[in-house]
Subunit: 361 residues, 2 copies
């Protein structure tokens, strides 16, 4: 691992220390973000490999902390209530928060045994199917919602501290009731996970010749099926009520599709509904903010082609705000979508065409 | 549209002309590819706007062709049999092929009324949820399977011509029985489309506050739900038997998941099966060829950051073989995955770190 051991230098002695329990993707990313603001972070993990990897990334110290102001419990969902309650007892003056993807059970579970007001449930909505401290990033939370679920008992100053941390790490604090949070993540995270796994499960027994025809569509639908089954089992069990409710509606729609295919009547309605539903996602991947425009550029598979394109764009002097490349079979298929400021797009197209590229809007 | 009207110059008079009927994404891409090899392409489309757009892209001439060697029918699936039969009659010496995503009905339909041996069913497996001549690319088929389904009656020389065209456009010819093709695409294309639409349909009535929590996962699962419902209705009706069969298995799995969530027993099995299934996809997006390695680089959201990174990588002198950027809310989330030749990866990491980037493997 070729990163400096302590990229941000010594901790600022004026800021109170934080303990992060659980050095997975989320815990290590939070730790890296806090260290970037000069905060003294102490790490703990039951797995010494995870702890060592996080320390090596510069995420904090493996030494115990005497009197932290904040404890972040970043362990798997099924272990969260116990770890939170233990932390509340070990450090009687600290604010304790968690990061679990399910909130109602966690908040209810802690509230049942603790009335100190020092626990604030939270859920930073970031990450992907990658996991572990190696994949952590201090920028993981930038622009992402950080849901805060105070429940009935969290003290105002505890809530404010957690909000400050979220903002410090670039997140957007969103306050919700725990049960509302669970319904929302069932819809936008847990059910899509199940649908992805259901689709991917059909591939297991398929002939290789069939799989050889796979394109980007099935790869996108089944990407999150690559996530950690153990973690997701805990999440789905922890949010069973909300997930069941949505899946029952899915099953109804599936039955309608099957009936339509049986008698060759119309599946159009589901498809139209599905498209309208997908268009409601804010800032949809592939959609651009109003002030950006997409320039399409054809690239061949020749070595160095991408590098040449980026060099030329750099020479032309137009900044690349965002980039999307069509991947099929893990290789470039030919179209690069470059997002640039809208008032630079025509200039970029003209200059690229003059240089011999096939570019258009 | 800022592209030259005829990028490849005059057609080679030694090669026989081709007619492309249907100037959508696939038809226009085929035309562009053939023009790139100096072939005289004549375009036809019932929609004058599509025809004009394709002509403007340099895909061919709107004038009629007297004696084409090949006619490519690139119209929607429900119109394909009729268009193929008309073409076989209009040009009694041409080989005729199609591009429809369903093959059994098309081949059976044509074979029922034509025994000339001049029709060869085919299906170039390329494209995405984009459509129309504006999104066409001569490289669309590079490295992609081009399924050829001769059926019982296609003449050998007709099949060879279609194979030559596929190879010329960079495709990989794959010969299959029409019914086998339909089973394969049901699995890797049609059912994933349905699953994506089923997931996205749940979003239509959801509160905006719930949708605001959406991340990359649901965007990936629902991306193809943005495809053209009219086209997909025709595809699903045309492949109803194979799609039904797989969807029935999906419904069984869904019932198992619902039962497991009802009594809190184990959903782990589906999740493990789903992960193993997703790993079977060849050249899986995010997987790399053995000779490449992935370097991870943190980027912030500052303007020009991506451009600076690419400029530095260019200066370091390591070619970018492939690129993947995490997008959430349509913006960069912080990690860029650069694929480079494996023996250059360490050098790139060292040089980037020396320049102040946070990079690692």
């Amino acid at each position: 691992m070729t990163t400096p051991a302590d990229p941000q230098g010594a901790a600022d002695p004026g800021l109170p220390p934080t303990v992060v329990i659980g050095c997975g993707l989320i815990g290590t990313s939070i730790a890296l973000g806090l260290r970037g603001h000069g905060i003294d972070v102490h790490l703990r993990d039951a797995d010494p490999e995870h702890l060592r990897a996080a320390v090596d990334r510069g995420a904090g110290s493996p030494e115990p902390a005497a009197d932290p102001a904040l404890v972040v419990v970043a362990v798997p969902p099924a272990a969260t209530v116990e770890a939170v309650v233990d932390a509340l007892r070990e450090w009687p003056r600290a604010v304790v928060t968690d990061v679990a993807s399910i909130k109602d059970r966690v908040v209810t579970g802690v509230d049942a045994v603790d009335d100190s007001g020092r626990f604030v449930g939270s859920h930073p909505m970031a990450g992907s199917e990658r996991s572990g401290p190696e994949a952590a990033s201090a920028q993981l939370f930038e622009g992402r919602p950080w849901v805060i679920t105070p429940g009935r008992s969290a003290a105002d100053e505890a809530v404010r501290l957690v909000e400050e941390v979220a903002v410090m790490l670039g997140g957007v604090p969103v306050t919700m009731e725990p049960a509302t949070h669970d319904e929302a993540v069932a819809l936008v995270s847990h059910v899509p996970q199940v649908m992805s796994s259901l689709t991917a499960a059909r591939l297991l027994e398929a002939p290789s010749a069939h799989l050889a025809l796979a394109g980007q569509g099935v790869r996108d639908v089944t990407r999150v099926a690559g996530s950690d089954p153990t973690l997701w089992r805990e999440i789905l069990r922890g949010n069973a009520v909300a997930v069941r409710s949505i899946l029952r509606s899915v099953r109804q729609d599936l039955d309608t599709v099957l009936a339509a295919l049986e008698d060759e009547s119309d599946v159009a309605e589901l498809l139209v509904t599905g498209r309208r539903g997908s268009e409601r996602l804010p800032g949809k991947h592939g959609g651009v903010q109003p002030e950006l425009a997409v320039v399409l550029v054809q690239v061949s598979d020749r070595p160095g082609e991408l590098s040449r394109l980026f060099a030329r764009v750099g020479q032309i002097g137009v900044n690349i705000e965002d980039l999307r490349i069509d991947h099929e079979l893990g290789r470039l298929v030919g179209l690069v979508e470059i997002s640039v400021l809208a008032d630079r797009a025509d200039h970029l197209v003209e200059e690229l065409v003059t240089s011999g590229w096939t570019a258009y809007r």
